[in-house]
Amino acid sequence: MSQPIDAAPAVPSHLEVSDEVAIEISGMNKWYGQFHVLRDIDLTVYRGERIVICGPSGSGKSTLIRCINALEEHQAGKITVDGTLLSSDLKNIDKIRSEVGMCFQHFNLFPHLTILENCTLAPIWVRKTPKREAEATAMHFLEKVKIPDQANKYPGQLSGGQQQRVAIARSLCMKPKIMLFDEPTSALDPEMIKEVLDTMIELAEDGMTMLCVTHEMGFARQVANRVIFMDAGQIVEQNEPEPFFNNPKSERTKLFLSQILGH
């Protein structure tokens, strides 16, 4: 883990959370066939929040954030993203997806396109941005993630950490209001985790609303304003990072934390 947990500061006070609701999930349930993956999820995310979702594998944390941009379909309950109720209407889904950026565990860059083309594709085709403007925006964000010099290479020529930073830049080029991170550092070598986390921290400081599924507890302590622990498809415990780590209430949370922080 790149951030020493003990040295992590408390929630930075300059990161304000507004009263405006970004995502509202109520009574959401999802099944895979007979298997009940998500059970009665209620969650309200305010604009500017940085939420870290953790939990053992199979607890439904990835499925939860994938429901928010409709990569997974939920069968019961309501999800409202940025004021738009998520329905099965394709136009509605595409609209929500263009407002919500997502980074994947395996980056999922487009291998047949250069880094720059990866970043300009969606702005050009979805937002109908002129090519020149889209490229300027892309270069701006590539500079922000500190790899403008790789713009004309292909994803296969970059290291894992660089690829994940490109994936973040690619999402940012759509100027999303919310960013979802699905285990962004799990597929990376230890040396590269820090560069990706630094990028995410910077993003948080810019006031981005973020939901991160991650096991980087140092990141959670330093950046998150709320940590959610999920198990067996339910939200078991949520709290501010300080009390969450120092004084977990649920037995299940205690066990989980002792296991991942044990060494």
Partner: protein, 432 residues
């Protein structure tokens, strides 16, 4: 770089310089040793193989090289050879026009040759991405131009056919915002309606004002390798887009579209091409209203296209299946709609994966065009088996003629294969 006595501590201060590999790995002798004579068994195999190659060449090369080029019949050939066993190439020289053009009117050979040469101009921007994109305009116009050059008649027919395409395109652009798929169906319907209802009368009226006509040539006059080439190129060019649509349709979440595509693919794959060709040549006439004159060449092109499209669809489906799910999800998460996702992300990668199978099918299709000789179309094989071999002058000159046809096909198929390998190398961007 010294190591302290028996201590485990070690620090390298100077990196080791690279060194040349051992000499035994390089040079001609080294190569021969490792590849041809590495053991007694291998040495014996090498010698046997060399002898077999020698024996084959010793038999074939003189037969080819001592061949007669100047004669007007097989008898003259034999007289000149005086018992030497060698080829009678004169048949190819004498029957060249028949082999290549069939009964195409000799005074119009120039038109056919021009259409052939322009094909490469039209293909160039499709095959080599480095060329100016504006050349694609010519590629779009080429089918209409080639039709006019080969079949002749008034230029207004292909122009009206082209206008039909433009009508379809305009309809598509008007409806595209609403739904890509709906717009495509509407565009297709509009184009078809234009072709069926308006093309003939409009072309006739305009031809009355300004003829712009070439001497018409009937389909049955076209023959020889020209038929193979027309069928092959139009079959490949038409079956690829149709195959892509079928492959996407087979993956569709809409059950009706999926079912139509699956039934079509499975049916066509389950039927031999020659059956479809017989249907085209004989049976279709029973189903069409009496008096309709539906050109045999067109019927065969349709059948060959449908046949190849079913195989193309399966090849492309393999490419689609090989693509990681993450690529679809990344496209989705950026808000691309279905068609954008397919066109920009999925198909470029899936097609690249499918290149070897697509080329395989294209080559197979090109060679299968010789099957039309069975439904009495005089393609290059039909020409050889019919008019040439049954003529009194060239009775029994099998090897030379069929060898020539073989070489002709080999040149084109090998060219396609080499191009596809070049393309694969060029498109390899993901794993270097």
């Amino acid at each position: 770089m010294s190591q302290g006595d028996h201590s485990v501590a070690f620090v390298r201060h100077d990196p080791l310089p690279p060194q040349a590999p051992p000499v035994s790995q390089a040079g001609v002798i080294g190569w021969l040793r490792t590849n041809l004579f590495s053991s007694i068994g291998n040495s014996i195999m090498t010698l046997i193989t060399l002898y077999v190659i020698y024996a084959l060449l010793a038999a074939i090369v003189p037969w080819i090289a001592n061949g007669v080029w100047d004669a007007s019949s097989i008898r003259e050939c034999r007289e000149q050879l005086q018992g030497v066993n060698a080829a009678c190439w004169a048949v190819i020289e004498e029957r060249w026009p028949q082999l290549v053009f069939g009964n195409y009117p000799p005074e119009h050979y120039g038109r056919a040759v021009l259409a052939f040469v322009l094909l490469f101009v039209a293909l160039a921007p499709v095959l080599y991405f480095g060329l100016p994109r504006k050349m694609l305009w010519f590629t779009g116009l080429y089918p209409f131009l080639a039709y006019w050059l080969i079949w002749g008649g008034t230029l207004w027919i292909p122009i009206m056919a082209l206008v039909g395409v433009v009508v379809g395109f305009v309809v598509f652009r008007l409806l595209e915002e609403k739904s890509f798929f709906g717009a495509m169906v509407a565009a297709l319907a509009a184009a078809l309606a234009f072709w069926i209802v308006l093309t003939a009368p409009l072309a006739e009226a305009l031809a009355g004002v300004l003829p712009l006509a070439l001497t018409p040539v009937a389909s049955r006059e076209i023959g020889g390798f020209m038929i193979n080439f027309i069928l092959g190129t139009s079959g490949i060019a038409l079956s690829l887009p149709l195959g892509i649509m079928l492959a996407l349709g087979r993956q569709s979440t809409l059950p009706i579209i999926k079912m139509i595509c699956v039934i079509f693919i499975e049916f066509v794959r389950g039927v031999p091409l020659i059956t479809l060709l017989f249907v085209a040549s004989v049976m279709l006439a029973y189903f069409l209203p009496p008096g309709t004159n539906f050109d045999l060449m067109l019927r065969v092109i349709i059948m060959v296209t449908l046949f190849a499209a079913a195989y193309m669809a399966e090849a492309i489906r393999g490419g689609l299946a090989a693509l990681p799910k993450g690529q679809y999800e990344a496209g989705d998460s950026l808000g691309l709609d279905y068609w954008q996702k397919m066109r920009l992300i999925v198909l470029p990668q899936a097609l690249k994966i499918s290149i070897p199978s697509i080329v395989n099918i294209a080559i197979g299709l090109f060679k299968d065009t010789t099957l039309v000789s069975i439904i009495s179309m005089f393609d290059v094989i039909g020409m050889i088996r019919g008019p040439i071999l049954s003529s009194t002058e060239w009775f029994g000159v099998y090897w030379e003629l069929l060898g020539f046809a073989g070489v002709l096909f080999f040149v084109f198929c090998y060219g396609i294969s080499q191009y596809s390998q070049w393309l694969e190398r060029k498109l390899a961007t993901d794993h270097r």
